[in-house]
């Protein structure tokens, strides 16, 4: 949106008149005039047109009204992307709002519709900032907010961050927000601490304390009431119990029961005595009966025993006699056995002696035979040794060197070969005679036969009959004769060496040698057989045997029979000894039996003697037994009668223990009743005291009162808790909205602001915090100083720049809005103002800026579109 004209009528000093500012263009527009011509009026009227509903008359509207009254009218022409419109508002009388289309004059909207239209222009939605950006003389959001502390230098000098935040907030409804937050915080802080705990000394904490105090008191009183009620109940029950206990009838009954129990006990005791006496009598009778029975039984047993003893005695005597007989027999047998042993032993000795002599004779004969054998062998061996020695001598004489004969054989073979060669190489002379001619040719006189071949060697002279001699000289060598001769010589040498004439002889010697060696071997074997350990040993053996040779005795007995006889004698010795050994135990057994039989006899005799003494004469015994029986029967009868008496007494006995217990019980009832009565009276007295004390203190009333107070306190507390919740919720909502708005605008505005800030600090280099986009340090004249605190002029400039940044932001969002400055730079020096002008112009390239100023001279430098006020009155 851009403004193109502003008109007002009946506003403040323009009572009944009006002015118009026309031709407001793009970029910077300046309305520069001295004070009191109506610049601020224009500013306020324009503000009211956009921000005050035409129906209301709040403070800002009231200030528009002239002192003389009247109905202020404000009109503005605007351009938006939808076209050009004229907005008109009249307040007080004839209040109205209208929007017309400028081109056609058509009425677009009226009244509330018109308000809505205007609202949409300036708001850009409910969350957006005011569409028009206003900066007023010396008034920025922060200053307004911190008004009460304006004097405070510390507070006034705020950091850039806080300043810009303040600016952003004031553009996003922050001032009222801050007030609301402050109001909320104040109310909340009376109740709770920053951490939302009840604040000490605050109403909330006090209410809590009060509630706790009352709750405690209520608990205590409730306990007291409960105690009182318990005491009352207790007293009631005590009274009831006492009434029961003190009832006369009951008492009489208790005493009666006690007396009866005592009587019962006495009766029980008397009866007990009688029974005891009877029981003693019964015991006496029983012991008498037992004694009689005992005597009778004993006597009868003695009789029987005596009879028994007689039988035993005869039996024992028999046993003894038999044992004596056995003893005798055993002695006899022992003697016979000993004799047998003696005989057997002598026989054995004789047999053994004979046998030893026999063996000795045999050994002597054997030795003589062996000596003869050895002597024959020795003779044979001597002969053999002689033969061996002759063989050995012959062998030594015939022995040939081992290799000699084989070398000769090899030479012989070589000779045969050489001879064959000689024969083969020798020229042959053969003459085949013609018929008729024979033996015409001879050599050295020997005629050559027809067809005879003759070998030629050296010089041969042929005698041809009738012809002459032919000498044939053959060249020497190459005919093998020489080699042959050499070989022959070697053979001769070999034969000579061996001492033989020919190879055949050599072979004969060799054969003979082998025969001798065989004979030698056989002789040696025979010698070894005859004298295995050598002749010396053999001679030694002979010498030994000769030394041993004793006399040869001839005994006429068969050694084998003798040995058998010895064996039989030894067996007999063993058998007879065993017989002796067997006889011994039988003797001993017989001795023992005799002893035992004698002892038994003695015992029986002594017992019998004893019994006879006790029982007296034999003829009186029957009578004595009868007397004993009679005595026992009497005692028996006595016992039965006494027992009967005891039984009858027992059957009618009274339970003494039960009777005593009952008496004890009755006594304890009477005693405990008396005790209980005393105790109950005591208790009753005490409880009476308690009850009276509580009742006099009206404890129930106090309890009820405290309960009601507690309820009231709870209610109050609940109310305060509700209040805390409400305020907390409100504060949270406000904080959340503020944070959202801040986040929504702060950073983008800072981004827009950064280049503008650079302009302001032209003479210095500024570093910006990357994170907050805020100037961090300023380097001036080589000195770096942090941008921390700001002067009033600087803050003022920041306020303007922030709005410019904001306007840029809005323009970027497609919601261009004019920035309106009303004497916004009062604290700034001219130098700074010029810089601000630069900033404004730079900004104004795509932004409408309207400046109201009274500093005509300073602002003449600003340039831009100069605006003028002209008189104006509405049509019609």
């Amino acid at each position: 949106m851009k403004l193109s004209a502003l008109r007002l009528h009946n506003v403040r000093r323009f009572a009944g008149t009006g002015i118009a500012v026309e031709g407001i263009g793009d970029g910077v527009n300046v309305l520069s005039a001295v004070n009191e011509v109506g610049k601020s009026t224009c500013f306020d009227a324009l503000h009211a047109l956009f921000f005050q509903p035409h129906t209301g008359t709040p403070g800002p509207v009231q200030t528009l009204r002239p002192y003389s009254g009247g109905n202020p009218l404000v009109e503005a022409d605007i351009k938006t992307s939808d076209g050009a419109f004229r907005l008109t508002k009249q307040f007080y009388g004839g209040k109205r709002a209208m929007v017309r289309e400028l081109s056609s004059g058509r009425l677009i909207a009226q009244a509330d519709e018109a308000e809505k239209f205007i609202g949409a222009l300036v708001q850009g939605g409910t969350t957006g900032p005011a569409g028009l950006l206003w900066v007023r003389q010396g008034i920025t959001g922060i200053e307004r907010r911190a008004k009460s502390e304006e004097e405070n230098e510390k507070r006034a000098r705020e950091s850039v961050l806080v300043s810009v935040q303040g600016e952003v907030e004031s553009l996003t409804g922050g001032r009222r927000m801050a007030q609301a937050v402050a109001a909320c915080e104040e109310e909340l802080s009376r109740l709770v601490t920053a951490t939302r705990r009840p604040k000490a000394g605050g109403p909330y904490a006090l209410a809590l304390e009060e509630r706790d105090r009352l709750a405690e008191a209520e608990r205590k009183l409730a306990a007291e009431v409960a105690e009182l009620r318990t005491a009352l109940d207790r007293r009631r029950s005590i009274r009831n119990r006492l009434n029961e206990l003190e009832d006369r009838e009951e008492e009489r009954a208790r005493q009666g029961a006690l007396a009866q129990a005592e009587k019962d006990l006495a009766a029980a005791k008397a009866q007990g005595e009688t029974l005891k006496t009877a029981e003693a009598e019964a015991a006496l009778a029983r012991s008498q009966r037992d004694a009689a029975g005992q005597a009778l039984t004993t006597y009868r047993r003695s009789l029987a025993r005596l009879a028994e003893l007689q039988a035993l005695e005869s039996e024992a005597t028999g046993r003894r006699d038999e044992a004596l007989a056995r003893q005798r027999a055993a002695a006899e047998a022992g003697r016979a056995a000993a004799a047998a042993v003696e005989l057997a032993e002598s026989e054995e000795r004789q047999a053994r002696d004979l046998l030893s002599r026999l063996e000795k004779a045999l050994r002597a004969r054997d030795a003589a035979e062996r000596l003869t054998g050895l002597r024959e062998a020795h003779a044979g061996a001597e002969a053999e040794r002689t033969a061996i020695e002759s063989f050995e001598a012959e062998i030594r004489a015939l022995a040939l060197p081992a290799a000699g004969l084989r070398q000769l054989e090899a030479l012989e073979t070589e000779l045969v070969g050489l001879r064959a060669i000689v024969a083969a190489r020798m020229p042959l002379l053969r003459v085949d005679y013609r018929d008729g001619a024979s033996a015409a040719i001879s050599i050295a006189g020997m005629a050559l036969g027809d067809g005879e071949e003759k070998a030629l060697t050296g010089s041969t002279t042929l005698d041809i009959a009738e012809i002459g001699r032919i000498t044939l000289t053959l060249p020497q060598g190459q005919d093998g004769q020489a080699e042959l001769a050499q070989a022959e010589a070697r053979r001769q040498k070999g034969l000579k060496l061996l001492g033989i004439a020919s190879l055949a002889e050599g072979r004969q010697r060799e054969t003979r040698l082998r025969e001798l060696e065989t004979a030698l071997r056989l002789g040696q074997q025979r010698l070894a057989l005859l004298a295995p350990h050598g002749l010396a040993d053999l001679q030694e053996s002979i010498a030994r045997l000769e030394a041993q040779r004793g006399e040869i005795i001839e005994i006429k007995a068969d050694p084998e029979a003798t040995r058998l006889a010895l064996d039989a004698a030894e067996a007999r010795v063993t058998t007879s000894r065993n017989a002796v050994r067997e006889a011994q135990p039988q003797r001993e057994a017989a001795d023992t039996a005799i002893l035992a039989a004698e002892r038994a006899l003695a015992t029986i005799a002594s017992e019998r003697a004893g019994l006879t003494t006790v029982m007296g004469a034999e003829d009186g015994r029957e009578a004595h037994a009868a007397a004993l029986e009679a005595t026992f029967a009497r005692a028996e009868g006595e016992l039965a009668s006494v027992s009967e008496r005891v039984e009858s007494l027992r059957a009618s006995a009274i339970d003494l223990a039960g009777t005593e217990a009952k008496l004890r019980r009755m006594r304890s009832i009477v005693d405990s009743t008396a005790n209980e009565i005393a105790k109950l009276r005591e208790d009753a007295a005490e409880i009476n005291g308690q009850i009276r004390a509580r009742a006099d203190a009206a404890v129930e009333e106090a309890w009820q009162e405290t309960s009601e107070k507690l309820a009231a306190a709870e209610k109050r507390l609940a109310g305060l808790a509700h209040e805390v919740a409400l305020l907390s919720r409100l504060r949270d909502a406000l904080e959340a909205a503020r944070t959202t708005a801040r986040d929504h605008y702060f950073r983008p505005v800072m981004a827009e602001l950064k280049p503008l800030l650079g302009l302001l600090f032209e003479d210095a280099s500024v570093t910006f915090d990357e994170d907050t986009l805020l100037p961090r340090t300023v380097r001036r004249n080589g000195l770096e100083e942090p941008v921390g605190v700001l002067s009033g002029g600087m803050r003022e400039q920041l306020a303007v720049l922030t709005r410019l940044a904001f306007a840029r932001l809005l323009a970027k969002d497609g919601q261009p809005a004019p920035v309106i400055l009303d004497d916004a730079l009062v604290y700034s020096d001219d130098d700074r103002i010029e810089r601000m002008f630069d900033a404004l112009h730079r900004q104004a390239s795509d932004q409408q800026i309207i400046v109201f100023s009274c500093r005509q001279r300073a602002f003449s430098q600003l340039g831009g579109n100069i605006l003028r006020m002209k008189p104006w009155s509405p049509e019609g």
Binding site: Q123, G125, T126, P129, R176, Q179, A698, E700, A702
Partner: protein, 374 residues
């Protein structure tokens, strides 16, 4: 014609701990002086007997002074005869109370502590049913059916407790047969316990309390003047005023856009009785923040004139419209916060308590903004 005053539920000694300190003394005192007002009504009507149908005392252990002062007040009206019946608050379990009362009993006071006929006057028999305990668990008036009285005598029942399922203490046991009067041939059954005045039938009445102690019934303190012409005759029953303090509840059912303060002003009782009036204003319905503030301011303004003035806004919802939000802010973060709270207060998905908190937070925000300089 036998005339008597029928009253009950004096609750002497009640301390009103839930009310402001300075009011408590006055309320306690009023419970005492009601004896004098009852006596005055009796004398005015020519009645010689005052039947107190239970709960003369608030607790089983009133302070000795409280008891003695009450007895002394009764004794002071020498020409009148008082009959006190133990109720559920001062039942026979309160042995100390009744023993102390018996010990200091003035000649013109009778204690109806036994279920036995009492001869009130020649030809007039009283059949009392004293409460044996706080909750007897049975109908104590049953014995009246069998109680023998001289031929032609008036039979007057005196009892304390609930008929049907209503009772001052809310418990439904110990129910007195509603037709006890006809069953027992009573000419009149004087009942206590219910603090409001009520006729069960022509012969059975609850007198109500002569001096109210709570907002529940919303009626003035009254007793009953009863005249019995003769056996079988229908009793003449006349309510008589005895109250000193009025406990009133005022319902304001509001619609959005109502001017609550004006509505309140129209409903408030006149100036003269305000000092003796405890008033509870129960606002319900919906109200715009500004009207709500105005209502609270009006209540705060007039409260000092009353003995007690309470405003109950539990049933009152905040109703916000765009103009109300505009009053907070037309745009920006503040407006956003307001709209957030408004949306939250209407958000059915949230618990009731949260919605209420949000709504009230909005009203509070409204009040902040209203107080700001424009």
């Amino acid at each position: 014609m036998f005339r008597f005053i029928h009253s009950s539920d004096l609750h002497i000694g009640k301390r009103f701990g839930n009310l402001p300190e300075e009011l408590r003394g006055r309320l306690r005192d009023a419970r005492h002086t009601v004896l004098d007002r009852l006596a005055a009504q009796a004398r005015m009507a020519g009645a010689g007997t005052i039947l107190l149908a239970g709960d003369c005392f608030d607790t089983e252990t009133p302070s000795p002074a409280m008891l003695r002062q009450a007895l002394a007040a009764m004794a002071g009206h020498a020409g009148l005869r008082w009959v006190m019946l133990p109720g559920n608050h001062d039942s026979l379990l309160a042995e100390e109370l009744w023993a102390a009362a018996r010990a200091a009993l003035p000649g013109n006071v009778m204690l109806a502590t036994e279920p036995e006929p009492i001869l009130l006057a020649p030809g007039v028999t009283l059949l009392p049913a004293p409460c044996t305990t706080r909750r007897p668990g049975r109908d104590l008036t049953e014995w009246m059916d069998r109680a023998a009285t001289p031929e032609g005598a008036l039979r007057i029942g005196l009892a304390h407790g609930a008929i049907q399922s209503f009772s001052e203490d809310g418990s439904g046991l110990d129910i007195i047969a509603p037709d006890r009067a006809s069953r027992a041939g009573l000419d009149y059954l004087a009942l206590g316990d219910w603090h409001g005045q009520m006729a069960v039938n022509a012969r059975s009445w609850y007198s109500g309390t002569p001096e109210p102690d709570r907002f529940k019934h919303g009626e003035p303190g009254r007793a009953l003047l009863v005249g019995l012409a003769g056996p079988g005759a229908v009793p003449e029953v006349t309510p008589v005023e005895t109250g000193s303090f009025a406990w009133r509840s005022l319902s304001l059912d509001l619609l959005s856009g109502d001017d609550a303060a004006t509505a309140l002003a129209a409903e408030l009782p006149g100036g003269s009785g305000r000092r003796q009036t405890l008033l509870r204003v129960i606002a319900s319905g919906r109200l715009r923040p500004a009207a709500r503030m105005a209502l609270e301011a009006a209540i705060a303004g007039v409260a000092p004139e009353f003995a007690e003035l309470q405003l109950d806004t539990e049933g009152l919802a905040a109703d916000c419209e765009d103009t109300d939000l505009d009053a907070i802010d037309r745009a920006g973060a503040l407006r956003q916060a307001a709209e957030l709270l408004l949306a939250e207060s209407h958000d059915e998905g949230r618990p009731e308590a949260e919605r209420e908190i949000a709504g009230e937070a909005l009203v509070r925000l409204f009040s902040y903004c209203d107080a700001m300089q424009p």
